[in-house]
C-alpha cells in the first residue's frame, strides 16, 4: 500500500514541479503584465496559505487571524519604501505625515530607514507577535473553537487599532507603494513588477521546502501528535506549548513575507488586509487545496484566487456565492480537500462508482500487496 502510494505521490509532485517551473519561466513572456502581476500576487498569497497549513493541517490550530501577521509584513515593507522615497517631501519623511501635522518620523519607524533591518523585520516582527500571542493563548490551554474565536478577536483589535492611527501609519488610507522607488526604479513599474514576480516565485518554492523540512521527521510527528491527541503528547514528556508556539510563530513569519510580497505587487497596504473575511479566505484556500498536504495550500491559494479574478471579471458580484459553494462542497464531499482526495482513495472510488474499476474484494492492503507481487 505504501509503495504504490509513494509512487503516486511522486508523480503528482514531479508533474507539479514541471508545471510550476515551466509556468514560472514562461509566465513573464507569455502573460501580459496585468496578468503576470495578478499571478505574482496569488503566488505570494500561497506563502501565507503554507503557514495556515502548518498550523491547521498539521498541528490542528485553526487560526482566523493570520491577516494580522500578513498586514504587519506588508506595513514593514511599505514603510521602508515610503521612507527611502521621501527625500523631496517636507522633513524628509513620507508625504502623508504632513497631512496630520507630524514633523518627525515616529521613533519606531526609525530603524526602517535601513534596508537590512527591514529585510529581517518583514518576517521577524510578525513571527515575534505571533509567538507572543501564541504563547499566551497556548499556555492557558485555550484550544479548539475558543482558539479560533480568540484569533479572530485579535484580528479585529489590530484592524481597529490600525484604522485609527493616522499619525503613525496613515490610518484607513494605508501606505501606497506603487509610486515609491527602489533601486532607482518605480516599484509599480513593469520591470520592477517582473522582478517581484521572480522573487515571489523563488520564495514560494523556498517556503515550500522550508515547510516540508519542518513537518518531516520527528518534529513534524509531534505536531501531528498534538493535533490528534495533545494530552497523550504531554504524558509522554513533551511540552506542547513550546511546539505550538514555535509553529504558530513560523506561520506568522511566513504570513509576514507573504504580506510584504503582496503589498509591493498590489501597490498598497491598508487595514483592509486585516478584515475578517480575508483571513477566513486563507483558511478556505487550504481547506479546498487539501489540509496537511502543503502542496494543496499553494494550489488552493493560486487557483481559487485566479478563479476569483476571472469570475469577477465575467460575472461581477457572483464570486462570493461560488466561493461559499466551493467551501460547502469541500466540507461535505471532500473533507480532505482536492489534493487529499486525489492522494487518498478518491479517484479509485469514483471510477468504481462508474463501474470502470473492479471493486476491492479483500482488505485494501492485501489487494495492493498482491498487485505489487504480480508486477515484480
Amino acid at each position: 500500500m505504501s509503495l504504490s502510494k509513494i509512487k503516486f505521490d511522486k508523480k503528482i509532485v514531479l508533474s507539479f514541479w514541471i508545471i510550476l517551473i515551466a509556468l514560472t519561466i514562461a509566465a513573464p513572456t507569455i502573460l501580459p503584465v496585468f496578468r503576470l502581476n495578478l499571478l505574482g500576487r496569488y503566488l505570494s498569497l500561497s506563502i501565507v496559505a503554507l503557514g495556515v497549513d502548518l498550523i491547521w493541517g498539521y498541528t490542528g490550530l485553526l487560526s482566523l487571524g493570520q491577516g494580522i501577521f500578513f498586514a504587519l509584513g506588508g506595513y514593514c515593507a511599505a514603510m521602508y519604501l515610503q521612507i527611502t522615497s521621501s527625500s523631496e517631501f517636507p522633513n524628509n519623511i513620507p508625504e502623508f505625515f504632513a497631512l496630520y501635522g507630524v514633523e518627525k518620523l515616529p521613533f519606531f519607524w526609525e530603524p526602517f530607514r535601513s534596508p537590512i533591518f527591514t529585510f529581517f523585520a518583514i518576517w521577524i516582527i510578525p513571527a515575534l507577535v505571533a509567538g507572543l500571542i501564541g504563547f499566551l493563548v497556548f499556555r492557558n490551554r485555550i484550544k479548539g473553537v475558543y482558539f479560533s474565536i480568540l484569533t479572530q478577536a485579535s484580528l479585529l483589535v489590530f484592524f481597529n487599532f490600525f484604522n485609527g492611527q493616522q499619525k503613525l501609519i496613515n490610518g484607513t488610507n494605508g501606505l501606497k507603494t506603487d509610486v515609491t522607488q527602489i533601486f532607482g526604479q518605480m516599484v509599480g513599474s513593469e520591470s520592477m513588477q517582473r522582478i517581484f514576480f521572480w522573487i515571489t516565485a523563488i520564495l514560494v518554492i523556498a517556503a515550500w521546502f522550508f515547510a516540508k523540512w519542518v513537518v518531516k521527521g520527528r518534529f513534524g510527528n509531534i505536531l501531528i501528535g498534538i493535533r490528534d491527541d495533545e494530552p497523550r503528547i504531554r504524558f509522554t514528556g513533551y511540552n506542547p506549548v513550546i511546539f505550538k508556539t514555535i509553529i504558530f510563530s513560523i506561520a506568522g513569519g511566513l504570513a509576514g513575507i507573504s504580506g510584504a510580497l503582496y503589498t509591493v505587487q498590489s501597490g498598497i497596504v491598508s487595514p483592509q488586509f486585516m478584515t475578517v473575511p480575508f483571513s477566513i479566505e486563507m483558511v478556505i484556500w487550504v481547506a479546498v487545496g487539501g489540509r496537511g498536504t502543503l502542496l494543496g495550500a499553494i494550489l488552493g491559494a493560486v487557483f481559487i484566487n485566479y478563479a476569483k479574478s476571472l469570475v469577477s471579471e465575467a460575472l461581477p458580484a457572483s464570486w462570493m456565492f461560488i466561493q461559499g459553494g466551493l467551501f460547502i462542497l469541500v466540507v461535505t464531499a471532500l473533507p480532505e480537500g482536492v489534493l487529499g482526495w486525489i492522494q487518498g482513495d478518491g479517484p479509485r472510488n469514483l471510477l468504481q462508482r462508474f463501474g470502470l474499476k473492479r471493486k476491492i474484494e479483500t482488505y485494501p492492503s492485501l489487494e495492493v500487496n498482491n498487485k505489487e507481487g504480480n508486477n515484480e
Binding site: G217, R218, F219, N221, I222, P231, F235, T236, G237, Y238
Partner: protein
C-alpha cells in the same frame, strides 16, 4: 514512608463539585514493586492515576515521587521525572506509523531543538527494534498505527510506555478487549518489567490480576479498603461486601 519507597500518596482528597472521587487516599509503593489496583466502577481508580500524572490537582494531600512533591507540576514535567502512563483505551497516534509512535516515546531530550536539528540516535533505533520484537510488531514497522488490531494497539501503547523508560509505570486496564492468550502474554510482560521498574496495574479482570501474582490494593469510594496478596483480599469481608460480591441470598 521510608527511603525504599518510590511513591507515597498521603491523604489525597479530590472532589469534583462536591463529589469525593478520592477521600484521604494513602498508598505507598516500593521500588521495583508490581502492584495491582482493583475496585468497583467509580472507586477512583482512574482519578488516582490522574493525580499522580498531574492531570488532576488534589484538593488536599501530597504526592511524593523519588523524594519530590508532584503536586502542582505540569504533566510533561512529571513524565520527564519518570512517570509513564498507559491509558484505558489505547491512545496511540493513529496517523503515524508504528515506528514513528515508538520514536516519539524513546526520544530524549524531548525538546523542539533536539527534534529538529538532530536525527535519532542509533541506540534509540536499537531500542525501537527491541521493543517491536517484544510486542511482536516487527513486521508492522511502517504500517499506520491506526491500521493495527485492537490488541496490537494495546501492545504498541505498552511498548511506547516501556520505551519512555519510566521508573514508575501506570497501566490502566491493559487487557481490556484482549484475547485470553494476549492477556496471558501481557501479564507475563508486566511481570518481567517489574523489578527493574515499578509497575501499577489497574484492572477489573480477576484472572489477569491473579496471574500477576502481586500485592493488590482494593479501592472503594476513593479510599484504600484493603491491601495484601490476592488470597488475603479474597478472604477479606469488606472486600467481599463491596466488590467481589457474596453469593446471592
Amino acid at each position: 514512608m521510608n527511603n525504599k519507597d518510590l511513591l507515597n500518596l498521603i491523604d489525597i482528597t479530590v472532589s469534583f463539585e462536591g463529589f469525593l472521587a478520592l477521600n484521604k487516599l494513602n498508598l505507598n509503593l516500593k521500588k521495583g514493586e508490581l502492584r495491582a489496583v482493583i475496585g468497583p466502577n467509580g472507586a477512583g481508580k482512574t482519578t488516582f492515576l490522574d493525580v499522580i500524572t498531574g492531570k488532576v490537582k488534589p484538593n488536599n494531600g501530597e504526592v511524593i515521587f523519588k523524594g519530590k512533591s508532584l503536586v502542582g507540576r505540569k504533566e510533561h514535567k512529571i513524565a520527564r521525572l519518570g512517570v509513564g502512563r498507559k491509558f484505558q483505551s489505547p491512545r496511540i497516534f493513529e496517523n503515524l506509523t508504528v515506528k514513528e509512535n515508538l520514536e516519539i516515546s524513546v526520544t530524549t531530550p524531548k525538546s523542539p531543538l533536539n527534534l529538529i536539528s538532530k536525527s535519532i540516535k542509533d541506540e534509540q533505533l536499537n531500542e525501537i527494534d527491541r521493543l517491536m520484537k517484544i510486542v511482536n510488531l516487527a513486521q508492522k514497522v511502517d504500517s499506520k498505527a491506526g491500521s493495527l488490531s485492537h490488541g496490537q494497539k494495546q501492545w504498541l501503547e505498552i511498548a511506547m510506555l516501556v520505551g519512555q523508560k519510566p521508573d514508575l509505570m501506570l497501566v490502566d486496564e491493559p487487557v481490556a478487549g484482549l484475547t485470553d492468550e494476549e492477556t496471558d502474554l501481557t501479564a507475563d510482560l508486566l511481570k518481567s518489567l517489574s523489578g527493574e521498574n515499578t509497575v501499577v496495574v489497574i484492572d477489573h479482570d480477576m484472572e489477569f490480576i491473579r496471574r500477576l501474582d502481586s500485592n493488590v490494593s482494593v479501592l472503594n469510594q476513593g479510599t484504600v479498603l484493603c491491601e495484601g496478596t490476592m488470597e488475603t483480599i479474597q478472604k477479606d469481608k469488606k472486600v467481599i461486601d463491596v466488590y467481589l460480591g457474596r453469593p446471592e441470598d
